[in-house]
Amino acid sequence: MNLSLDIAIIFLPLIGAVLAMLIGTKVFLPKFLKEKYQDGCDKAAQVAATGCMLIAAIFSIVLFRYVAVEGHEANTMLFEWIASGNLKADWGIKLDTLSALMLLVVSVVSCLIHLYSIGYMAEDKSKSRFMAYLSLFTFFMFVLVVAPNMLQMFFAWEGVGFASYILISFWYEKESANDAGIKAFLVNRVSDFAFLLGIFACFVLFNSLDYTTMFAKAAKASEVHWEILSVSVHAVSLICFLFFIGAMGKSAQLGLHTWLPDAMEGPTPVSALIHSATMVTAGVFMIVRLSPLFEHAPFVLSFITVTGVLTCLFAGLVAITQFDIKKVIAYSTISQLGFMFFAIGISAYSAAMFHLVTHAFFKSLLFLTAGAVIHSMHGEQDMRKMGGLKEYMPFSHYFTWIGSLALMGIGIIGVFGFSGFYSKELILESAIAKNTGMGTFVYYSGVIAAFLTALYASRMIFMTFFGDRKVLNRREEIHEAPAIMILAMLPLVIASVFLGWLAFDWFTGSKAVEFWKNSIFVSDHESSHAGLLYTILPITLVSSGVALAYIAYDIIKDIPQKISNKLGVVYRLIYDKFYFDEAYNMIFVRPFGAIARFMRTKIDDGFIDKFGVDGIARVSIMVTRKIVSVQTGYLYHYAFAMILGLALLVSWFWGWRLY
């Protein structure tokens, strides 16, 4: 029963995508049919895609029980893919707790977002195309999480990147959406290039790309050093480093993060599914999947920690200053991904995965509520023009609160907390339990990050839902989201409230070893408990962050303005996101075009052509004009040359014979 279930789960979204494409889009439907029955076709496409996802989600729950709870792991090979020499990579399905958990999270979130999209895209003219793309993305994501080898992982890795590209550029008539789509694809290509080099190095070291073989050989391989440019390089560290660069692109870590805020150009359900809950966490997932390998690269782990911390603080700071509601959540996502990465850096893989799971639910909830707000404001995303929405949109208001409380990690130790509370506490606890300088560094960074999170999340709520209405359009124009969107958000609300409390046991202590089995590396640090002071500090800071935001944005409203004026240059620096985009434009984008034009006009046309063949041509035109007086008969010239050649051939032969 298991075998057919996993295959069904993976291919259902693909079937949904194809169905939606066939039924609802202009590509396959005859034009006259399409014009007449467009609405019906779109409905059918939406039902087909969402239905497939619903079945996949139900199957995933069953499968999760079967694999993770009952402990039936399996490794299925589907069919051969690339085989060349001793390289062999097959299509396959690796089922263990890690992949079953990811399947569960992805399918449930994706199913809900399919449902939400039916309401959100009601006014759009390409509903079916949208559903098809969403399902296609889900398919790639499924293939990614069940991959049994690096190559299939890379296939899906680039596949989700492609799906993300077409979804960001979904409204292709908007130039900004096209810019953002290409940017996302290219930034990811840069990091994928490092990933690809990592795969090459991996193959050279292990002679295989299968996880099982790699992990089995990891201990022995960690003694290998390579000579590169007469420097001795630790092979496993190099591979892990290259893989991490790959993860940095997909998970938008500092330096390669610039595409993610721009990706908000896509429709909001896309931001919720791809750019917060699932695809951007693929980097975290990849490293957790490879944790037995990364454990042999302590230097890379430290690098990951530092990158994670910097990203987390940087994005948290930027989020406080942004006014676009989606940008705030986008930077929040970057920050939270940094949080997961520094958990990885201190070998707290289980905690990182726990945060990945809780984050998937509460962050997609936040995006969906933001989507509801944008939907009712007719596309307005600037929070300065919102305010006072809580009266008109009670559901969205409460849901945003719940999502934000989960994000901030509000809870009382030992009693109850929102889902983010447990995962965040677990990461901080693991850090302090490490009892090293790095652990302490991570702990305090995490606490500061938690404070920043509380600040920007509550700022967003107070600016959007509290205070006075800024835009004085007619009251009835602003409306609560339609029932289907509320319905889609409900399960996410429940998960944001209870998931941490329910699932806490699986991810911590001795139960973690039992839960994960051998699918990831579980360190024993995670079982110990931190002192009281360490557990109280974060929640105190988080509460004060909320209070601070409340005072600054709902009581004494000129505080933010005053602070930003006082800070001057520093504020500009943060508000302008530390000028990463500007710098990249100056260093890479603009010179690229200039170099290309230079090569085309000066080198190709101006040098190679001029002195190469055209030079010869000029000379031979002069010569041939004298010999043959046929003006357009270049064919004859050639025939002439052939005859000449044959004559040469024959005479050579005769001469040789005579000789």
């Binding site: 202009k26 590509v27 396959f28 051969e80 893919w81 690339i82 085989a83 060349s84 020499g85 001793n86 390289l87 190559l151 296939f155 680039e158 596949g159 550029s169 292709y172 008539e173 130039e175 096209n178 789509g181 290409i182 694809f185 290219l186 290509r189 840069v190 994928d192 290039f193 690809l196 080099l197 090459f200 190095a201 193959f203 050279v204 590169i228 290309a596 034009r597 090569m599 085309r600 006009t601 080198i603 190709d604 190679i608 190469g612 063949v613 010869i616 041509a617 357009t632 270049y634 064919l635 010239h637 050639y638 025939a639 040359a641 052939m642 040469l648 051939l649 050579w652 032969f653 040789w656």
Partner: protein, 495 residues
Amino acid sequence: METALSDIPLLSVMTFFPLLGALCIFFIAKFTRLKTDASKVIALTVSFVTFLLALAVFFVFDNTNPAFQLVERASWLPSFNAEYIRGIDGISLWFVMITAIITPIAILNSFGSIKKNIHEFMIAVLILETMMIGTFTSLDLVLFYVFFEGVLIPMFLIIGIWGGEKRIYATYKFFLYTLLGSLLMLVAVLYIAVAFNTTDMMQLIEQGVPIDAAIWIWLAFFASFAVKTPMFPFHTWLSYAHVEAPTTGSVLLAGILLKMGAYGFIRISLQMLPEAGMLFAPMMIVLSIIAIIYASFVAFAQTDMKKLIAYSSVAHMGFVTLGLFSMNEQGLDGAMFVILSHSFVSAALFMGVGVAYDRLHTREIARFGGMASNMPQYAMFFMIFTLAAVGLPGTSGFTGEFLSLLGAYKANIWIAVFAGLGIILGAVYMLSLYRRLFFGKQDKEDVSKMPDLSVRESLCFAPLAVLVFWIGLYPSTFSNQYSATMKTILERLVQ
């Protein structure tokens, strides 16, 4: 069955069948008032039957046997030691298949765009097919030379008669470049005939060529193949030839003709002259890296979409030579897959350009935009082939570039680092092309009135799209045919 088939000289029948078709059209048109539609149908049928013949060869071929198969011998120019020898191995089998697949598609594609001298056009294309299949199945150097050069005559006619405004300049350039290369090749063939008393390629491969002679022979052949492939810096003829050629010409040029250079590199530069090949491998790899990076930049700066795709061909062929001269299993396999992939993808992309050109009579990228709204089917096919050109995993482009780069990595890490930049650069120019053509606001009135693909046009794209995914998802179908042959080539190289 076995004996019945072996009695028929299958390869010769396959090679000369298109020529027979061309003669048919010629005589019927000469003595009767043949309708142009009839000659279209005849040409399409003939090329399709040739495809079926190639398919028969495909199934008769024994892929466990690395040697040349279906060998036919007949005496020819006995005084010159040149024989008529035909045969195929796993390598040439695929080159023949490429030719047999793309030619009927190119003929079908020409129906809409070729308006004058249709009989003659069909004759030229069919002769071209005979010449191309002949090149890939010839096992005697003189015979090989005749077919290799014979390809150029119909190609000249296609560009020179049915081409664009500056077609004469383009054919001139084409002529000069290839003349330079082929004269040197001719000298090498002559030298071999004289020095070794045979031009039988099988025998030459068997007995080997002494290294001091091999170096000069290698260089002479290199001149010809480097122009044809084309390699940097012998590539500037390509963009002119493509821009001036009619769509069908470009499809045949990019899909098949360029592969003759790659075929020559495998058959002669590696298989026949392995030691010299080893010796020149560093040069080949450096030129490949330059081609990949340089052509990608130049492609990005183009304003004419056909030129852009022409330069992308130079970059992709760089991956072929890169893989070949990395000289390991993955590199050689990768090169074969890039050859297969590029044949189908570039043929499709040039047909894609043709679709736009037939409707608006311009190839200026800036004249288009927003075509995704009024031509969704066209947008979808173009996206598939764009992705394959970009090398997205799951498409044919990835299988080839991945293995080719892996081979390069095994040869030297830095080769892979530099050549690998090509996969980033490729995404830059292809995606920006796609964006400028298909995305954006539909504000040009003439573009917005363009109709979507006709059934005939879709029929041209569909089989290529299937092949792109087939190679991308289940490449074993393809590599199983040539892996035995590749292994023996590699064994000789390693020695």
